[in-house]
Symmetry: C2
């Protein structure tokens, strides 16, 4: 999916929401656990309840690999079930030598038919290069949302700037706004402003809203760009909104998702990005 499509979908849906498809068998409604493929059935319900309100889905590979080969079957079925007008991000955080990185790119782009893959920057350009294809996206970890992230990412370098900005400078030399996005945690708004200043046109994938404590309005303040530039991921607080509530769980998921979309619509309107 190319940049214009992503921007257009945000305008049409009045939403920059990415729903994280992180199915945990301990939290899936009981009535789905007896089926052949509870993970797929759960995801299918989540997609049905959210597809009109979000522009992207982000399955985290950790949740599928945990189930072994069957988990990858569930992932395949899930991705096939998602419509072509949603942007699909494999949240895999991969990083390997060129030869292996090519295989991962082939896996996620061709086998699983994803649009984008999250990547760790520590191995440099040749671990990222195979992911930079026309209409496909490398999404590089820059400032992540986890508590210990800044212990590494904010190390001050010789240039006087924090490491994450040096990595951003490196990445700018490898890529462009049409094939590279950056992961910037919702809890890292201070860093987000600096990253936006250096990368005015790249999209950011933003985890950390909801269960991890990030604030939506603060994210818009720090990261919104003329093309919106934000894909804001919410996982647990949407997909488990109906936890323990039985067969009606989909209604609660839809409601949580609608509420998030409405908040986004209001913020997008206040910036005259949608009318």
């Amino acid at each position: 999916m190319d940049l214009n499509h992503i921007i257009n979908h945000i305008r049409v849906k009045k939403s920059c929401l990415c729903v994280g498809l992180d199915p945990d068998l301990n939290r899936i409604p009981d009535h789905l656990l007896d089926g052949d493929d509870p993970v797929f059935e759960f995801n299918k319900s989540i997609i049905d309840a959210t597809s009109d309100l979000c522009v992207a889905y982000k399955p985290n590979l950790a949740f599928y690999e945990k189930l072994g080969p069957a988990g990858l079957v569930s992932l395949e079925k899930t991705i096939r079930y998602i419509s072509d007008d949603h942007f699909i991000i494999a949240d895999a955080k991969r990083s390997d030598i060129f030869n292996s990185a090519k295989m991962y790119a082939d896996t996620f782009y061709n086998y699983f038919n994803c649009d984008a893959v999250t990547l760790s920057p520590y191995m440099g350009f040749d671990a990222v290069k195979p992911f930079l294809k026309k209409g496909k996206w490398a999404i590089l970890l820059i400032a992540t949302s986890n508590p210990s992230a800044s212990s590494i990412q904010n190390i001050i370098t010789q240039s006087g700037s924090p490491l994450y900005l040096d990595i951003l400078d490196n990445a700018a030399a490898w890529s462009n706004k049409e094939n590279m996005m950056f992961v910037v945690g919702a809890t890292r708004t201070k860093e987000m402003r600096k990253i936006r200043a250096k990368a005015p046109e790249n999209f950011f994938l933003i985890p950390g809203i909801g269960a991890q404590g990030g604030d939506l309005a603060a994210v818009f303040d720090a990261g919104f760009s003329k093309n919106c530039g934000l894909l804001i991921n919410v996982s647990r607080s949407i997909i488990y909104a109906g936890e323990g509530l039985g067969k009606n769980f989909k209604d609660h998921v839809h409601q949580a998702c609608l509420s998030m979309q409405q908040n986004m619509e209001s913020l997008l309107k206040s910036r005259n990005f949608v009318v």
Copy 2:
């Protein structure tokens, strides 16, 4: 597998060789391609031809995930086929927030029954913590063997030292010699000396010998410690030693592996680590 077992196996086998199980369908002998599971059959042959000469096996997940669910089945069967006295490293280079990292640790340690997992350090301690278990090992990328690695890893920090040493200092605070190893490329002997000076007792996992151009004697010079401290990985130049040579490929694999083990034995003897 605990530290003493690893050291003991190196003494008994007179080898610190780790064989990389990176099965590529384009390079597997033709006569295996007609079977139900060519990847497993190939790995089985490689294991048969090498198990008396090596102390560890390292499947790289990229080669298995490329084949979708069937690839993970081949991986499961491969790991079951490896004897308990070999150290098994999932070369997965994972890195994720704590909640997801716990899942990856569960996947590789419990589902796949590996002893160790390679990890990327960019997200800091909470992405590593779930992998630090008794008898299990986090193997952190410090100085990797790929061409562009130093563009990030050798960024000089405010302290005047390169980033990889700052990360090593961080990691030393999280872990100990019984649960943490470091990835140091065979092509990075200059860095290896500095890492060994700061981490005298940790094992290093060393890729980059063979196809990637590293030199065995130089690695011993730079990285050998009183407990050997080296697990030296060789993938392509052993497992594809019989490429294009038909049904006798196993003999060529064995010969390539024996030659590598003999070189290691000679270097281990010259340091009085084995007699």
